[in-house]
């Protein structure tokens, strides 16, 4: 057996891999890549529209960061209706009508019922401080949004 023959045998023994790229595969991949890039671009635009700039230091008055903590993740559509960004007032526990201390989740919530809306201040263990103005009239009954739920609880607490 010549050297050429050995080489040829070895070459033939390489199996045909099922996922080996063919001409058709490449076109499909390129198409899906283009679509993904298009969607990513859109998502980025949406984020830029909703996220506000910090007021001072680490204080944020923005709904853009709202869903970042575990346990208070919500859909963007719901939050835009009832929850609005507000200026942080540094309200203390004594001034608050409702308090939630969530050590295991890493945040505290303070709420004050102000007639037409509830002012909510959220403090996170990474140093962020955020404030929201929640119109409880616009909150959906089955909301999964923690800030909205907390605002509704605050109103209920004050009415009882």
């Amino acid at each position: 057996m010549s050297v050429q023959e050995i080489g040829g045998k070895g070459k033939r023994s390489i199996p045909d891999y099922p996922n080996k790229r063919t001409q058709g595969h490449t076109e499909v991949f390129q198409e899906s890549l283009m679509q993904n890039l298009k969607y990513q671009g859109r998502a980025k635009d949406d984020r830029e529209k909703t996220e506000l700039t910090p007021c001072r230091g680490e204080e944020k008055t923005g709904v853009g960061m709202l869903g970042s903590m575990a346990g208070i993740r919500v859909s963007a559509v719901t939050r835009m209706d009832a929850v609005q960004a507000a200026e942080v007032r540094h309200m203390n526990y004594e001034e608050s009508d409702n308090i939630e201390i969530a050590v295991a989740e890493g945040y505290t919530l303070k709420g004050k019922w102000e007639g037409s809306h509830v002012y909510v201040e959220a403090k996170y263990d990474d140093g962020r401080l955020e404030a929201y103005r929640v119109d409880t009239g616009k909150v959906q009954e089955q909301t999964q949004h923690r800030i909205e739920q907390f605002a509704v609880e605050t109103v209920e607490k004050m009415q009882n």
């Binding site: 308090i99 050590v103 140093g127």
Partner: protein, 172 residues
């Protein structure tokens, strides 16, 4: 006579303004009422004896909290205290009696916080239950803000573990 009157007025102001809050901080460390009360008395006495100028109310409050924690640490490190055995049941019962100016929904979390090692317990307690900012806690405990953030995060993980463990044992 006038000096004595001023001293008495100062004492009354301190008691009215800080006693409850300092008692809670002391209780978080000493875990029993009698020791916590002794610690607060000692902190006030040290404040009255201290002749360093106090810049403002925030400085005053931070000084008192820091001193209270130091006194607690000194007692906890003392050989006499180390020989005593804490009663778990008494901690559970007494932690419910700690006066907080607001209602807490979950006693088990506070109990878990009180069981944390001291370097996690004080930042967590001040951050969540006394509503201090990371900047303020760093000032009170003489630590960097980054250190406080790390302790808050690690302490939170410890609390989570304790709560999961307690839930599991309850279900068995």
């Amino acid at each position: 006579m006038e000096q004595e009157f001023a001293r008495e007025q100062r004492w009354n102001y301190l008691v009215e303004e800080y006693q409850t809050m300092l008692y809670r901080v002391a209780f978080a460390n000493m875990k029993n009422r009698a020791d916590a009360e002794d610690v607060v008395q000692e902190a006030f006495l040290r404040y009255m004896k201290d002749e360093k100028p106090i810049l403002n109310k925030e400085h005053e409050k931070a000084w008192l909290i820091r001193t209270t924690i130091h006194i607690c640490m000194d007692i906890l490190k003392s050989s006499w205290h180390r020989k005593t055995v804490p009663l778990e049941e008494s901690l559970m019962a007494e932690s419910r009696e700690v006066y907080l100016p607001y209602q807490i929904r979950d006693d088990s979390t506070l109990e878990a916080v009180l069981k944390l090692p001291v370097h996690y317990r004080n930042p967590i307690y001040l951050f969540y239950y006394e509503d201090y900012s990371i900047h303020e806690i760093a000032g009170v405990l003489n630590e960097k803000e980054g250190t406080i953030k790390t302790r808050l995060r690690r302490g939170r993980e410890e609390v989570k573990k304790m709560l999961i463990k307690a839930n599991e044992s309850e279900m068995l």
